[in-house]
């Protein structure tokens, strides 16, 4: 037990590190970047947690209220107040890149309770929301690095390497190999854009004509909401402010989405080129790429691309020799919060706060980062803008439909033969996509992720586009063998976990929906509970503060409408069954006593 003191996750553990050590890590991280998220990440990585002492040191160093630092530490999933293991393993719990069985297996072998750190401090194992590896089978993050294509044999080997203390650098490199899996190329992925070509075309056109070109192209936001990109740029350009900002939203947290992962890996130049073009149009000198924490492993590569572009004169002062065209891009990495994909929450996060969506109006185009006019666009939107610079709006409009110009890059996963990246012209039918990805006996498709639309086979003739089925890129296929209720329950858990907690309907409503689905899936639900799901679902949808709450009930409402049988076949045909389940209430006692035999159950 003597060893326990060194790493035990109790209150005394922070005293293991001297205040000087903490100060030195904070000072070094702060000199690299003034961002609170960066400094906290450095502390988490070095000390495996962020102690109360560390919070105070950070607050003093960054001149922030202690409460703000504390609030941020508690908000983001990747920061912890008690120590994680030296191997911190997070299994994706997404329906496409998660496998709870494999997590249970690893927990069993290593004797770890899910969600906690082993007493010797060697390893912690938990769940995390989709990590964007849905085309690679089951996946996990170990100390932030993704391991993909997991199976039981790999889990056994991982357990052995953890026990042996093998450094990650000595784990098989193939485990960390993330592929592009680009299955079909279209307008954007099939087009080669040499660095700077789009910007040169833009400069010869001038800012006003460039803006008109973007407006005429009909380009709409690729995050799913579909606001006109050109109009957004115009509103921002016209807005008065001390400074204007460009923000690229690369926080693709929607389960089943991984197209930004591939865009940033293989086409980062186009994304940065689009951001730079936007900066020229709106008059911005500073831009940010907000990268989701799950993609931190892409950071070195992205920094290389940025450095290369600076060398080429595509970033920095007087870009391409144009006097006064000064712009540079900083990458800010998130720390595990789906809500930061919402543009105003993302801005709050950039400012070093909890990711709470702002009241709108005013919108970011007039009051964004630091209260200044800000364009926030999806990574794919910026990439499309770069190609439009080069080829013009007419080229872009040749593809797609009248209301949805151009193409959409889809991340296809789930029960299909060839998961991966597919680029389609807007207007393509769901049936066509299903056939192309090699899916058979399809029961349902979730379009746009949990926040999107769940359709059954009667909807397969529907079309992809803002006028019918809109998507940020997620396309999840569910075969006949899938338990759709389990899928919907998974999504309900996801939203309850990711709700920021700001407004009552979403904070409490998503928890109630989660509990209700657990009851129904557990075989204790009645018709009354179904009616309650419907009623709460509609309230959460209509009365919530932001897009998260307004879409959180979609899987349940869609499920009740299109797959009522999956609910009804689990119902108890009585008027009422209470939530309280005596046997379930004994679970904690069973855990404490390490018993799970028949006598420890009441059933």
């Amino acid at each position: 037990m003597g060893l326990v003191l060194k790493v035990s996750p109790d209150k005394s553990s922070s005293s293991v590190y001297t205040i000087e050590q903490i100060r030195s890590v904070v000072a070094e991280a702060h000199s690299e970047s003034p961002r609170l998220l960066h400094v906290l990440h450095a502390l988490q990585q070095r000390f495996l947690h962020i102690s109360h002492e560390a919070v105070r040191v950070v607050a003093a160093q960054l001149d922030l209220p202690v409460s703000q630092v504390e609030a941020v530490v508690e908000f983001y999933s990747f920061f912890h107040k008690t120590p994680r293991g030296r191997y911190d393993i997070l299994f994706s719990n997404c329906t496409s890149c998660g496998d709870p069985e494999l997590m249970r297996r690893l927990c069993q072998i290593l004797d770890v309770i899910p969600g906690s750190t082993r007493a010797d401090g060697l390893v912690s194992i938990g769940e995390t929301s989709c990590i964007g590896m849905c085309d690679h089978g089951a996946a996990l993050l170990v100390n932030g690095m993704p391991i993909v294509r997991l199976d039981a044999a790999m889990i056994d080997r991982i357990a052995a390497m953890v026990e042996a203390g093998t450094p990650l650098a000595d784990w098989p490199a193939g485990w960390f190999q993330v592929d592009g899996n680009i299955r079909s190329k279209g307008l954007l992925l099939g087009d080669v854009l040499a660095a700077g070509d789009g910007l040169r075309a833009m400069l010869s056109r001038g800012a006003t004509d460039t803006l008109n070109e973007i407006i005429q192209s009909g380009l709409r936001g690729r995050g799913g909401a579909g606001f006109s990109t050109g109009m957004k740029w115009k509103f921002c350009r016209d807005a008065q402010g001390d400074a204007h900002y460009v923000v690229c939203n690369a926080d693709e947290g929607e389960p089943g989405t991984f197209k930004d992962r591939v865009l940033l890996h293989s086409h980062a130049g186009s994304v940065f080129e689009g951001m730079t073009a936007c900066a020229f149009v709106i008059g911005a000198r500073n831009g940010f790429l907000y990268l989701r924490g799950e993609y931190r492993y892409l950071l070195p590569q992205l920094q290389t691309v940025l450095a290369h572009r600076r060398e080429l004169g595509l970033l920095g002062d007087n870009i391409l020799g144009q006097p006064g065209f000064d712009f540079d891009i900083e990458i800010v990495t998130g720390a595990g919060a789906y809500i930061c994909g919402e543009e105003s929450a993302l801005i709050e996060s950039l400012e070093g706060k909890r990711g709470i969506p702002r009241v709108r109006p005013p919108f970011p185009v007039t009051h964004g980062y630091l209260g200044q006019p800000t364009v926030v666009n999806n990574a794919e939107t910026f990439a499309a803008a770069a190609h439009i610079m080069q080829h013009g709006s007419a080229w872009f409009r040749t593809t797609g439909t009248e209301k949805s110009a151009g193409s959409k890059i889809l991340s296809i996963s789930g029960d299909c033969a060839s998961p991966g990246i597919y680029e389609y012209p807007f207007g393509v039918t769901i049936q066509q996509i299903i056939e192309d990805c090699g899916a058979q006996d399809v029961q349902a498709v979730q379009i746009g992720g949990p926040a999107g639309t769940l359709i059954s086979s009667t909807g397969f003739n529907r079309k992809l586009g803002f006028e019918d089925l809109s998507t940020g890129g997620s396309f999840m296929v569910f075969g006949q063998k899938r338990d759709i209720l389990a899928v919907i329950r998974n999504f309900a858990h996801f939203f309850a976990h990711e709700s920021c907690g700001f407004c009552t309907p979403c904070r409490v409503g998503t928890a109630l929906l989660k509990n209700g689905l657990d009851k129904i899936a557990g075989g204790h639900g009645t018709q009354y509970d179904l009616d309650e799901m419907q009623r709460i679902g509609m309230l959460v949808k209509r009365r919530s503060h932001c897009g998260l709450g307004q879409t959180a009930a979609n899987p349940i409402l869609d499920g009740l409408q299109r797959f009522p049988h999956v609910f009804e076949q689990r119902l108890v045909h009585r008027d009422f069954v209470p939530y309280f389940d005596l046997d379930a209430a004994l679970e904690k006692a069973r855990q404490i006593t390490h018993r799970d035999d028949a006598a420890a159950h009441l059933k």
């Binding site: 504390e70 908000f75 009552t504 904070r507 109630l512 309230l539 009365r543 409402l557």
Partner: protein, 270 residues
């Protein structure tokens, strides 16, 4: 009404109400003596829009409801050609047609109030705030008879460290009135919200995280503004007997009650 006046008019439940540029729907309504239920709003503090009790519908023909909105109409909702906004944060715009005091909206508000009750630990009969509690008063106003949903029974910390102010998080409804009052009026920034989702909770901005180490004083607005019994002044319990408390003497829907509520310990009202 002249055409010029129409340009500065909104309609709430059929009643035309004048507004000044820059006012929210809530500002205009309260100025005209129209009550829109609210908990996180207090005139003079920055609007917040988190409790969602002031949710109203705006008839807006430009916003067509999507097919997914229409499909579940049969059972519960009928008001499909309107959009839902928070009255406390939405700017008043000429010509808005707003539904407020309707059975449908009050039912929604009752459900939201029930949500606030069951996510915390609200034991009215043993709470010193009973009768002065706006949450309780709103619940009565909306005809709420029970919590309806299963209780969450969260574990929340009490902070009794301060010599004269008590913080009982069991009753906190995360309205952030204390956060804003401390920041905007007291100039102290004593409170903040930490955590996420259902685990969001009130924290104190002090080195130890305890109220005793903060700059909070009994003269601060933040010490008195709590609409529930989460922040209470010590040694002044039950000075006003039950039966003579704010909502024993007033309806929550009366306009301009803020002064009465804030002056509670001195209760000049009798």
């Amino acid at each position: 009404m002249s055409a010029e006046a129409k340009q500065n008019t909104i309609t709430i439940d059929g009643q035309e109400i004048l507004f000044r540029q820059g006012q929210t729907i809530m500002d205009a309504a309260l100025a005209a003596g129209v009550y829109i239920p609210h908990l996180c709003h207090k005139p003079g503090l920055a609007p917040h829009g988190s409790c969602k009790l002031c949710t109203v519908n705006i008839q807006d023909r430009n916003v067509s409801s999507s097919p997914s909105d229409r499909r579940v109409q049969t059972k519960f909702f009928v008001d499909i050609d309107s959009r839902s906004v928070s009255a406390c944060t939405m700017p008043a715009v000429a010509g808005q047609h707003i539904s407020n005091n309707t059975p449908e909206l009050n039912e929604v508000r009752k459900t939201i109030t029930q949500m606030l009750f069951i996510e915390g630990n609200h034991l009215c009969p043993s709470c010193e705030k009973t009768g002065d509690c706006t949450l309780q008063a709103v619940a009565y106003h909306l005809g709420m008879l029970d919590g309806h949903f299963p209780q969450f029974f969260p574990r929340r910390e009490v902070d009794a460290s301060h010599s004269s102010v008590m913080l009982d998080r069991d009753r906190c409804i995360l309205c952030e009135l204390c956060v804003r009052a401390s920041r905007e009026v007291d100039g102290k920034n004593v409170f903040a919200i930490a955590g996420r989702g259902i685990n969001a909770h009130l924290i104190v901005n002090s080195p130890s995280g305890k109220l005793a180490d903060s700059g909070l004083e009994t003269g601060d607005m933040a010490a008195h503004i709590c609409p529930v019994g989460a922040i209470l002044i010590k040694e002044h319990g039950y000075e006003v007997p039950i039966g003579r408390r704010t909502f024993d003497l007033h309806q929550v829907g009366e306009i301009g009650l803020e002064k009465v509520i804030l002056a509670k310990t001195r209760h000049t009202d009798e």
